[in-house]
């Protein structure tokens, strides 16, 4: 809307573009050259050989299996969140029960509890029930820690449903269950996709729970795989960076095809 171009802002934005873009440039360029090529050209050089062998190396290093594990964990976490949160948010918004507001405050309190703070007792509980080094042991606390933000987001969305719609259905004698399935769920689709993306991001990017609660290769997740590659083959930078690129592919796809859902899922993460 401005009448003249803002040169200062243009300069600043170009500088930030450089800061954001340089690592991305190195990330892409490093992964398409061989280790020796990278060693000669350095991170900033342009590749003179082209190869995709880094990606196949990463997969032969077990990354495919970590991928599968991460998909399982992510899908399960999203499933649990989508199963538990809608009824809870429905009760928070519509119930007249006095205990509900206490429950809601409990979840608000949960917003403030960082995973680091409870990792030791969670480790204790998970080992005691025999779920240590088991994907289920990662899924359960990851899902639990996605609940507060999801509840906040979804109850916000459900609160915006016009009360007249509920009243109309009540006049027709609809049960709470029927209102939930025929009115609340269809009108909360946006919120449901937000909490699905949010909890998927939490699970996909999760680090602390898998770090503490798993140890063997068969239960390794992508983030653990990256951490492992870094500590074990830190010298093989092209291979390591290929793994970094592979770890972001699903999120990149969501970004390209459902940008709005991703942004809102991320902002849900901001509630934390």
């Amino acid at each position: 809307m401005r009448r003249r171009p803002n040169y200062l802002a243009g300069l600043g934005s170009a500088l930030w573009l450089f800061i954001v873009g340089l690592p991305i440039y190195v990330l892409v360029m490093a992964t398409v050259q061989t280790r020796s090529g990278y060693g000669q050209n350095g991170p900033l050089g342009f590749p003179d050989d082209f190869t995709l062998s880094n990606f196949s190396d990463v997969f032969s290093g077990g990354f495919g299996h970590y991928y599968l594990n991460t998909v399982i964990v992510t899908a399960s976490v999203v499933g649990i969140v989508l199963l538990l949160v809608p009824p809870l948010a429905y009760a928070i918004v519509r119930s007249r029960n006095k205990v509900i507001s206490a429950v809601f405050r409990l979840f608000l309190l949960g917003l403030a509890v960082p995973a680091q703070a409870v990792i030791i007792p969670v480790f204790y509980v998970i080992s005691t029930v025999g779920l240590y080094d088991n994907l289920i042991g990662v899924i359960l606390p990851t899902a639990a820690f996605a609940l507060p933000v999801s509840t906040l987001v979804l109850s916000g969305v459900m609160r915006d449903i016009t009360p007249e719609l509920f009243e109309a259905m009540a006049v027709d004698g609809a049960t709470p269950r029927r209102m939930f399935f025929q009115l609340v769920l269809p009108l909360s689709k946006g919120g449901l996709s937000t909490i699905a993306v949010f909890s998927a991001l939490q699970a996909w990017n999760g680090f602390l729970f898998p770090l503490i609660l798993t140890q063997s290769n068969s239960t390794k997740l992508i983030t653990m795989g990256l951490y492992d590659f870094q500590t074990q083959y830190g010298i093989n930078i092209p291979g390591l960076l290929a793994a970094v690129i592979l770890s972001m592919v699903p999120i990149l796809l969501v970004y390209l095809f459902a940008r709005r859902a991703l942004v809102q899922g991320l902002m849900g993460a901001g509630g934390k």
């Binding site: 401005r2 573009l17 409870v118 359960l140 639990a144 509920f166 930078i237 972001m248």
Partner: protein, 309 residues
């Protein structure tokens, strides 16, 4: 939005309660989620307090030792140092990222085509997990194969992880690179929500672009600024993966922030009792901050940030 809820409940009260109690969900709807959350978040929160009064090596069962861990913690120079370091990194995060993300967010709020394209590029760091970001930067800053080795005129001997000042600089920079795009999104949404009329009025009064920024944009962004800063504080205090991957608390204990110190105490030295005490300190600090969240910005503010997108 703030006004809708009370207005609605007021209207409800005027109708006969009998017919309205029908068709309302009971407490049973909330039970599964509450039990699940209680088991994995609330029970552990109580347990961590209990464990802080025990000695536990992770194998045998915990044994009560009274205030032993707590008094040891108060006398532990590394604990005090770690709190200062956490504070320093948090403050650095807020001080660097707030002006940067405000400027970028306001800039990106413009609807020009080039701004839309650049904003899409600025978004890229958000597609990477904290782990991936740390691994990427660890590789980029590698003393032998990274950028510092190529640009020794700028980086000296190239080992940024070898001195406290540069190691802290790396942590602050990487967290800026990682989180600024997120806060930029917050401000972009908020800046777009500022009513146009304000600027039109200022324009009639002959206010310059800079003046408009100081007198309209910044005051209008106040609420988003509170939300964003609190998120930075909570995020900064609980930074963990970045430190584990980039510096491991080193050189020595020079970047040993509290959250990482807790991990070292517990999962490397197997002093889970002492680690629980550190964890409890983290909970108290985070809860204090969250009380500020609820009081100062409130639940509705968070919603409006979401809807502003």
């Amino acid at each position: 939005m703030t006004t809708i809820a009370p207005a609605v409940s007021g209207r409800r009260r005027t109708k006969s309660l009998g017919s309205l109690e029908m068709g309302r969900p009971g407490f049973a709807w909330a039970i599964p989620a509450t039990l699940f959350f209680g088991l994995f978040a609330i029970v552990p929160l109580i347990l961590v307090a209990v464990l802080s009064f025990t000695r536990w090596d992770g194998l045998s069962s915990p044994e009560l030792v009274g205030f032993e861990n707590w008094s040891a913690l108060l006398d532990d120079p590394i604990m005090i140092k770690s709190l200062w370091l956490s504070l320093l990194l948090t403050v650095l995060g807020v001080v660097i990222q707030t002006p940067l993300s405000v400027l970028l967010g306001v800039w990106a709020a413009g609807h020009q085509r080039n701004r839309a394209i650049l904003s899409a590029i600025y978004f890229i760091p958000l597609l990477l997990s904290a782990t991936a970001v740390s691994v990427l930067w660890r590789a980029l800053l590698d003393p032998n194969f990274g950028i510092p080795a190529q640009a020794s005129w700028l980086f000296g001997n190239g080992n940024l992880f070898g001195k406290q000042a540069t190691a802290i600089g790396v942590l602050a920079f990487v967290s800026t690179w990682q989180f600024t795009p997120f806060h930029t999104l917050i401000y972009q949404g908020a800046a777009r929500a500022i009513p146009r009329v304000l600027y039109q009025a200022a324009e009639i009064d002959g206010a310059s672009t800079v003046r408009q920024f100081w007198s309209i944009t910044l005051p209008q962004l106040r609420n988003s600024m509170i939300t964003s800063m609190i998120l930075m504080v909570v995020g900064g205090l609980t930074t963990f993966d970045t430190v584990l991957i980039l510096t491991q608390g080193g050189p020595g204990t020079d970047t040993m922030i509290s959250a990482y110190y807790m991990y070292e105490k517990g999962f490397r030295n197997f002093e889970f009792g002492a680690a629980s005490a550190i964890a409890l300190v983290l909970v108290v600090v985070a809860t204090l901050v969250s009380l500020v969240v609820v009081r100062a910005s409130g639940y509705d503010k968070m919603r409006s940030t979401l809807e502003g997108m």
